[in-house]
Symmetry: C2
Subunit: 213 residues, 2 copies
């Protein structure tokens, strides 16, 4: 019986973000046949302090043994339960240009049981093309296709100038979370969660730091 594990009911944003990193680290340890790990040991790979790690976990429960550490297998299961990676989550991809096609082939999503299962484009040249196991569909059918499958998550890789309009259409189609690659701030209802992947600005930030150090 999957009892709710959440102990505290306010969980810092950042803590949630780090859980996926912990899961990754733990899986690597498991692969190396390591059964038990202390917060010290695990945070040598991740660049996070051991206190941070312990505190983060403490929001969800007590998973370690004092004087010993954490059972790798058990902790993996707990984090998977928290993140809900036990069920496959279906994702729609919109815009099958260079970047979109690359994401279609990106193996990293499976790590968290995330799967792009439909892709849309409006270019005649792309519609019907197979990209790995996925056939690009006409974006005319996007709304109905997303609604029918009940997909709630989208990856948006359309050119800048279409991003706002298409994101609005996605919301009307039932999408509740968008990973946005267009360098623009999407203005959408607050109930919709958007995460921006802004490569140019990221790089600029890096260079700014570099220039001041």
């Amino acid at each position: 019986m999957t009892k709710s594990i959440i102990k505290s009911n306010y969980i810092p944003q950042e803590t949630a973000r780090r859980l996926s990193l912990y899961l990754r680290g733990l899986r690597n340890l498991k692969q190396d046949k390591i059964l038990t790990v202390s917060s010290q040991q695990i945070t040598r790979f991740l660049n996070i302090t051991s206190v941070q790690f312990r505190k983060d976990l403490s929001y969800f429960g007590e998973f370690g043994k004092r004087g010993v550490g954490y059972d790798v297998e058990v902790l993996i299961n707990e984090i998977e339960k928290i993140l809900g990676t036990n069920v496959l989550r279906e994702i729609a991809l919109v815009g099958a240009g260079k970047l979109g096609s690359a994401l279609l082939a990106y193996p990293g999503f499976l790590e968290f049981n995330l799967k792009i299962c439909v892709a849309f484009d409006n270019a005649k040249t792309k519609i019907g093309k197979l990209c790995g196991p996925i056939k690009i569909e006409d974006s005319k059918n996007m709304r109905s296709a997303i609604k029918k499958r009940g997909i709630k998550i989208a990856v948006l890789c359309v050119p800048l100038e279409y991003a706002q309009k298409i994101s609005e259409l996605l919301v009307r189609s039932g999408i509740r979370a968008i990973l946005n690659f267009a360098p623009i701030n999407l203005v959408l209802p607050k109930r919709v969660f958007v995460s921006n992947v802004d490569m140019a600005s990221e790089l600029e930030g890096l260079i700014y730091k570099l220039s001041r150090k």
Copy 2:
């Protein structure tokens, strides 16, 4: 003579990151022939408060007119000066797989005067291939090529298992800032700045929020 504009000498990390967003917003306004803008107006597009905007700018100087707002043109110039986007910054790309090739063609970098000017791969099938204006070079020559050109910034798109080793080689080649697309925490000297673009974990974070709201 470009006098230093920095007023305060501690500038929050986050402030620096936002400057590029402001620059973008201002350029859009300029394109729409808008000459003057208040902090209120500009922050309707970006999702940032007007106080945040003013405070951020205040670290660098006083660019606005009370009762009026900011001259769009002037502010663009000031931010460009701060970010150093007036000079072209050369970038090396490592790993010309699907994602790497997509980034080679990504037009968004030019926005900040960033340009991928060399690309490397170790696959025979890719070496010598033209990707837009860039010819993929053999990664054997990477170190000397980067050193010779004095490139300080790299985009890393190699498969997970090579990422750590290659990043170390990049550092030995003189690279000081890395935009890393591999889902791993690179362990490098502190003087090297790394920014991770972790699409799967980003998406997972989004879904976690969704599941709790």
